[in-house]
């Protein structure tokens, strides 16, 4: 299981963007969504989510709005902005590329030269 500190730098932002691309949610919801979709492999230091959310909001990648949660409590809901959508696409393709590259290297077999 990966905790926040073990994630590569910038990965948390990408995970949050991805989680929000599935639909607006509050901070706790984002956390649950990441843990669930990672099939339990990622366990975030919960507090660290909020500076990240604020940072993304500061950069204009997500927007926030006060709303009502499923159990009728006031909660702050975050949603992806168009800039956020674009950023997510970019980050995701870069991530895929990197994984592919690293995997290729790791899968390499000794060859005769």
């Amino acid at each position: 299981m990966l905790i926040t500190k073990e994630l590569l730098p910038g990965t948390l932002d990408m995970l949050i963007l991805k989680a929000l691309s599935l639909g607006p949610n509050h901070g706790y919801g984002v956390l649950l969504r990441i843990e669930q979709t990672s099939k339990g492999l990622v366990s975030l230091e919960q507090g660290s989510l909020y500076p990240a959310l604020n940072r993304l909001e500061h950069r204009g990648l997500i927007a926030s709005e006060w709303g009502t949660s499923e159990n009728n409590r006031k909660a702050k809901f975050y949603s992806l902005t168009p800039a956020g959508t674009k950023r997510l696409e970019h980050e995701a393709s870069r991530w895929t590329q990197m994984v592919e590259a690293v995997t290729n290297v790791l899968d390499a077999l000794p060859m005769e030269s």
Partner: protein, 884 residues
């Protein structure tokens, strides 16, 4: 970027609400998690504890979230600003010295630059002013001489006919005070005579009416006038029907044909313009005109100069005469030629003061930074990032800089009006002077740059050194050497600049002293002068002028406190009329001519002024219009022209008549008139003729340029006499406005006003620079005292006398001063050649000036060095050592 700034400042401004919202968000998060844990079967109390634990510190989360909005830097900046203000308040002497130095440099620099820029460099207020020029004649071997740009009437005809592609005009640059009357109003106004096309060449159209036509600009053309906007408003209440009205100028009826727009200025402040009616004879036989041209669109200056140079001048057609060429001088440069040198001198002085001020600020900064090194090192040792420390220092310096900038703005605003009045009084300019925003920005930038550069250098240097070394060294600093060396170099520079500046100021003072102490050649005590314009149709004949002179003098002499009274065309210390003349029986080479000043006087002139008659006889009442024409020459005239043979009885011709020299008078100081001498005043060769023997044409011609003065020697208070003399004149002619009533001593003071102003200005600037340098020196030695206290205590404990200790500490200051003095001497020698052009009666290497400056600087430096050093002697060695 904008969004981020908005986000940062929004977060900052929302401050408390931002935190409250975060609190709420965090509470929701923990509650939701708790609920989920309970739902999964956990005990509620344990669930809440777990939720809190997993969340981490809410305070850290809040701080990090806030900083995510980019507010950290702003927070730090505000904190630094608070530190900076507290720091300034903790050390008020430093802060005040600093802000005042900065303020003085910025303010004075800006004000003086603004003056120089306004007077010399700002474009003239006409459309496309950079296309306007004066046509001058010059000898190609010597080149164009700035300031000498008058030409004669024949030259104008050549340009008028030969330069047809140029818009062109001719004007008289000689201010003439004339009498204006209209209905019941009488006023003494300034008149300028300009040709047809003058205003259209400047491309300024009259506000109402029109400019002069060629048919009005010919001899005996219709008498017309154009008014200035100010005169129109002041004397005619802005009468909209003014065009076509008749006014009397010099007693002659003139029809007003136009009014110029508000604020329009020609070459000097003018109330009324009349047609010049240029002619190659009379006035036009001498160089009394200036030719204005505008470059046609698309023509380059080189092209225009070549075209103008292609026109044959009058003199080049004569054999043997030196060749002369026509050429162009840009109008602005031509009009400001004689102000260039003195104004640049003032600017140079201010720049030197600015440099001294910057060096001083840098020195102060280095001292402060050195003192703070232990603090900086401590912070670094405790893990403070260099960036954060730098940011704090920058904030402190910028705060100081802003304080100084505000002080500078105040100095500039307060100083500019006074300076404007001074400059307009001492220089021949009508330009209004505004504070120049660019100059303010430049002066501000320069000083703040110096502040920052030297304030931060020591911090950057600390990085390179071992932090432990600084801390272990206690009050001593590891980089002291480097910082001190820099500071000492700055001080040597300051002393050098101040020495050069003081020498310059001293030379100007000596030069002014020389001019002021020159024997005037007459006694101004108790002499009142009253100037009247005789350029008036009522006084067009010699008989009328002389009747007016006789009647007014008789009335004045009847008054009890009047000792004697006379009339003279020009006063001593003023610029006189000059005329070419020949000596009968002396053959001068072709093309050369003799020149002398000519003054008409009444017989009591010499007695009234106490000018001694050295030989021969005085002018007498018998020397009337029908008697043989006689002249009194002064000694300078005899020395220059009649050294061989008996002077008395020599015969001279000038103005088309022959005169016999009947007497020799003592010399009086006169202002320079563009020939003979470059000194502001000199005893010029002068001829005195009797007013009674002057002809109609002579009076008419010279009264256009000169307004004669009535000189009254009184036994009582001259000032009290002014009203009764004015009344006497009005008894003879009620319509005669008085141009000027002043004491002769005032006229003398006025003649030397400019050298006095220059000397005073430089002395004040040099004094400020000296003060700055002395403060800097004092600071260095005081610093040295503090740093070497323990060393000196040790030495004294080992047997050194207090006197020896003081000497050791104070000596470096004196040594630095001597090095600075030597450098200053070199600087003075370099600038000497230039300063020689603006001083008289004293050489640029005047030993007295240089000696006084050298001794003065040394004494002051010694005081500034040894006063702080004596503190050592008062210390108890045992106390010092125990403190360590």
């Amino acid at each position: 970027m904008l969004n981020r700034l908005r986000s940062a400042f929004g977060t900052l401004l929302r401050g408390r609400r931002f935190r409250e919202e975060l609190d709420e968000e965090i509470a929701f998060h923990i509650d939701a998690y708790t609920d989920d844990l309970i739902a999964s079967g956990m005990d509620p109390v344990e669930a809440r504890r777990q939720a809190r634990l997993r969340f981490g510190s809410p305070e850290e989360v809040k701080t990090a979230s806030r900083e995510a909005h980019g507010v950290a830097l702003i927070d730090e900046a505000l904190r630094n600003l608070r530190f900076a203000v507290r720091g300034m308040l903790r050390n008020p002497l430093f802060s005040v010295t600093f802000a005042l130095t900065l303020g003085l440099c910025i303010g004075a620099g800006t004000a003086v630059y603004s003056v120089v820029d306004s007077v010399l460099w700002r474009p003239l207020p006409y459309p496309s002013p950079d296309r306007l020029a004066l046509v001058v004649t010059y000898n190609p071997e010597t080149g164009k001489v700035p300031g000498y740009n008058a030409v004669d009437g024949r030259s104008w005809e050549l340009i008028r006919d030969g330069a047809q592609m140029f818009p062109r005009a001719v004007f008289s640059d000689w201010p003439a005070g004339v009498n204006l009357s209209a209905d019941d109003a009488a006023a003494y106004v300034q008149q300028q005579r300009v040709s047809a096309g003058f205003f259209s060449t400047l491309e300024v159209a009259p506000l109402i009416g029109r400019e002069f036509e060629v048919s009005e600009d010919i001899p005996s053309g219709p008498a017309v006038a154009i008014l200035s906007h100010e005169l129109w408003q002041r004397t005619f209440n802005g009468d909209p029907q003014i065009v076509g009205r008749t006014i009397r100028l010099k007693g002659d009826a003139h029809t007003v044909v136009g009014v110029m727009p508000a604020g329009f200025r020609s070459s000097f402040p003018t109330d009324v313009w009349t047609p010049l009616r240029p002619s190659p004879t009379g006035e036009g036989s001498g160089t009394n005109y200036k030719i204005l041209v505008r470059l046609p669109p698309g023509m380059s200056w080189e092209g225009a100069d070549a075209r103008i140079a292609g026109i044959q001048t009058t003199r080049s057609s004569q054999p043997d005469a030196p060749e002369t060429l026509f050429g162009l001088v840009p109008l602005n440069r031509a009009l400001t030629a004689d102000m260039q040198q003195p104004l640049l001198l003032l600017l140079g002085a201010i720049v030197i003061m600015l440099l001294v001020g910057c060096a001083n600020l840098a020195g102060l900064q280095i001292a402060r930074a050195l003192a703070r090194q232990p603090e900086i090192a401590t912070r670094q040792a405790l893990g403070g990032g260099t960036g954060a420390i730098l940011r704090q220092m920058v904030t402190e310096n910028v705060a100081l800089g802003i304080l100084g900038g505000l002080a500078g703005l105040a100095v500039a605003y307060l100083g500019i009006d006074g300076l404007e009045a001074l400059v307009q009084a001492h220089f021949d300019t009508w330009r209004t002077i505004d504070l120049d925003a660019r100059a303010l920005a430049a002066a501000f930038g320069l000083t703040v740059l110096a502040t920052l550069l030297f304030g931060l250098a020591p911090v950057l240097q600390v990085r390179k050194f071992d932090v432990r070394g600084v801390l272990a060294g206690g009050s001593r600093t590891v980089m002291g050497g480097g910082g001190h060396r820099l500071r000492k170099a700055l001080l040597v520079g300051e002393v050098a600049l101040v020495t050069a500046l003081l020498s310059g100021a001293g030379l100007l003072v000596r030069s002014y002293g020389y001019l002021d102490r020159l024997d005037p050649g007459f006694d101004a005590e108790g002499v009142l002068t009253v100037q009247l314009s005789m350029d008036d149709a009522r006084y067009s004949s010699a008989a009328e002028v002389n009747r007016f002179i006789d009647e007014t003098l008789a009335g004045i002499e009847r008054q009890p406190s009047v000792a004697s009274a006379a009339v003279a065309l020009t006063l001593p210390y003023e610029r006189p009329l000059n005329m070419p003349f020949r000596i009968v029986g002396v053959e001068d080479p072709e093309g050369t001519y003799r020149i002398a000043n000519v003054v008409y006087v009444t017989p009591d002139f010499f007695e009234t002024l106490g000018v001694p008659l050295l030989r021969g006889r005085n002018l007498e009442t018998a020397d009337g219009p029908d008697a043989p024409t006689v002249v009194i020459a002064n000694q300078a005239f005899i020395d220059a022209n009649l050294v061989d043979g008996p002077a008395i009885g020599s015969r001279l011709t000038f103005g088309g008549r022959e005169f016999e020299v009947v007497g020799i008078a003592g010399d009086v100081q006169q202002a320079r008139g563009g020939w003979g001498s470059s000194e502001p005043i000199w005893k010029s060769p002068t001829l005195y003729i009797s007013a009674a023997q002057a002809g109609d044409g002579f009076f008419r011609g010279i009264h256009i340029w000169f307004s004669p003065s009535w000189l009254v020697k009184t036994t009582g208070s001259p000032a009290g006499l002014a009203a009764s003399i004015t009344n006497t004149i009005h008894d003879v002619n009620p319509d005669m406005p008085v141009a000027r009533v002043t004491l002769l001593s005032e006229v003398m003071a006025q003649a030397l006003a400019r050298p006095r102003f220059e000397a005073m200005f430089l002395v004040i600037v040099a004094a400020f620079a000296l003060l700055l340098a002395v403060v800097g020196l004092y600071g260095i030695v005081a610093n040295e005292v503090v740093e070497r206290t323990s060393e000196m205590g040790l030495r004294m404990a080992l047997g050194a006398t207090p006197g020896k200790a003081v000497w050791t500490v104070g000596l470096p200051g004196l040594q630095l001063t001597v090095v600075g003095l030597v450098a200053g001497g070199v600087l003075t020698a370099i600038t000497g050649r230039w300063i020689a052009q603006v001083i008289w009666g004293v050489v640029p290497y005047d030993p007295i000036t240089l000696g006084v400056v050298g001794i003065g600087v040394t004494v002051l430096a010694a005081t500034a060095s040894f006063v702080p050093a004596t503190r050592i002697a008062r210390l108890e060695p045992s106390t010092i050592l125990r403190e360590e």
